[in-house]
């Protein structure tokens, strides 16, 4: 790309656009995908927890994400109201 092109604005810097789009879509797809064992893990955890506390199947969420060098397994359980 020549300086004249630049001055006349005939070409855009598109690499940054590509990078930003990829950042978003990769983060989204990594979250959606996750390891293959997650659904099974979720199912088994639910069985164990349900033995002691009545929880709704929809109120348990298992997710895994990478943070730097670590992988974080996140477990969210919403307990039913006590009263």
């Amino acid at each position: 790309m020549s300086i004249l092109d630049y001055i006349l604005g005939s070409r855009k810097k598109t690499a940054n656009v590509a990078k930003d789009r990829l950042k978003l879509i990769l983060a989204h797809e990594r979250e959606a995908g996750g390891p293959d064992f997650l659904p099974a893990l979720q199912e088994e955890l639910l069985t164990v927890i349900a033995k002691y506390i009545p929880v709704d199947k929809n109120n348990i969420k298992v997710s895994m994400e990478r943070k730097g060098d670590f992988e974080v397994l996140e477990l969210n359980i919403l307990f039913p109201d006590q009263h």
Binding site: M1, S2, I3, R11, K13, T14, A15, A18, L26
Partner: protein, 269 residues
């Protein structure tokens, strides 16, 4: 102990077969007994890139189906002493590759070779899964372009979940990123993702950068693996890749655009 390396990418046309041929040849040039296997059943092409297409008699599928011995299917490379090619079949039967069959072939090859290089087909279907299943290490070939980067991310996820090492809870497959068709000038002009961008997006250690070059077409036209192409940038870049793979420190080369004169800068060209 033999090491199995899969050359993979998800996306087609990014340079898997070119890289398989050059990388396997490079390992052999360094004195390692190496075999390179084509896993792209139905779309055989490694034989053409290696220049041995007229010497194919038996193939991987013949060996798996017991119609030929492994020794009969292995083709000795004409450029390197320590290199053999195991071509695939042109059958349209998608289920020709079986897990048991491939495992048996791998076990036998492991006894006789230092390195087993598996050229994966594009996609994430059974052929690609078969190619990566036995891998100890993976070279993910990526172009600095959105669809290639996204597909590489997918294949990295699959490597972490579907390889034999993942299934058996062993140490994970060692992943390497190889950027190909890299154009330093376009990167400097802000038109192409830089190697830093791709590294950051894929979070995978970079094994090397292969510059965009007309030499690749000259090499494939003649059936000569790119690593043998004289003193070209591409040949040198692939030799560096092999050296780094073998644990040597090699700074990246061919990642800066040549300096251009004032007038060219002003008017382009």
């Amino acid at each position: 102990m033999a090491r199995v390396i899969v050359i993979t990418s998800g996306k087609g046309g990014v340079g898997k077969t070119t890289t398989s041929a050059a990388f396997a040849s490079g390992l052999a040039l360094r004195g390692h007994k190496t075999v390179v296997i084509d896993f792209d059943v139905g779309l055989r092409n490694l034989d053409l890139i290696m220049g041995c297409e007229r010497r194919v008699v038996y193939d991987l599928i013949n060996v798996i189906q017991g119609e030929a011995k492994l020794q009969q299917a292995l083709i000795k490379d004409k450029h390197c002493e320590n290199l053999y090619v195991l071509p695939t079949s042109q059958t349209r039967d998608k289920d020709a590759l079986t897990v048991e069959g491939v495992t048996a072939v791998m076990d036998e090859l492991r006894k006789n070779f230092d390195y087993i290089v598996c050229d994966s087909p594009a996609g994430i279907e059974s052929g690609a899964l078969m190619a990566l299943y036995h891998a100890d290490e993976a070279i993910v070939v990526t172009n600095p372009e959105v669809s290639s980067v996204r597909d590489s991310d997918r294949i990295l996820g699959i490597l972490a979940a579907r390889s034999r090492r993942a299934e058996q809870g062993e140490e994970p497959v060692k992943e390497h990123l190889l950027l190909t068709r890299y154009s330093p000038k376009r990167v400097e002009d802000g038109e192409m993702l830089s190697l830093e961008d791709v590294k950051e997006l894929l979070r995978t250690p970079l094994l090397g950068v292969i510059p965009e070059s007309e030499v690749i077409l000259q090499a494939s036209n003649q059936g000569i693996p790119a690593v043998h192409m004289g003193n070209s940038d591409v040949a040198e870049a692939y030799k560096d890749v092999v050296a780094r793979f073998l644990g040597e420190e090699k700074p990246l080369r061919f990642i800066q655009a040549p300096k251009v004169g004032f007038f060219k800068k002003l008017f382009g060209g």
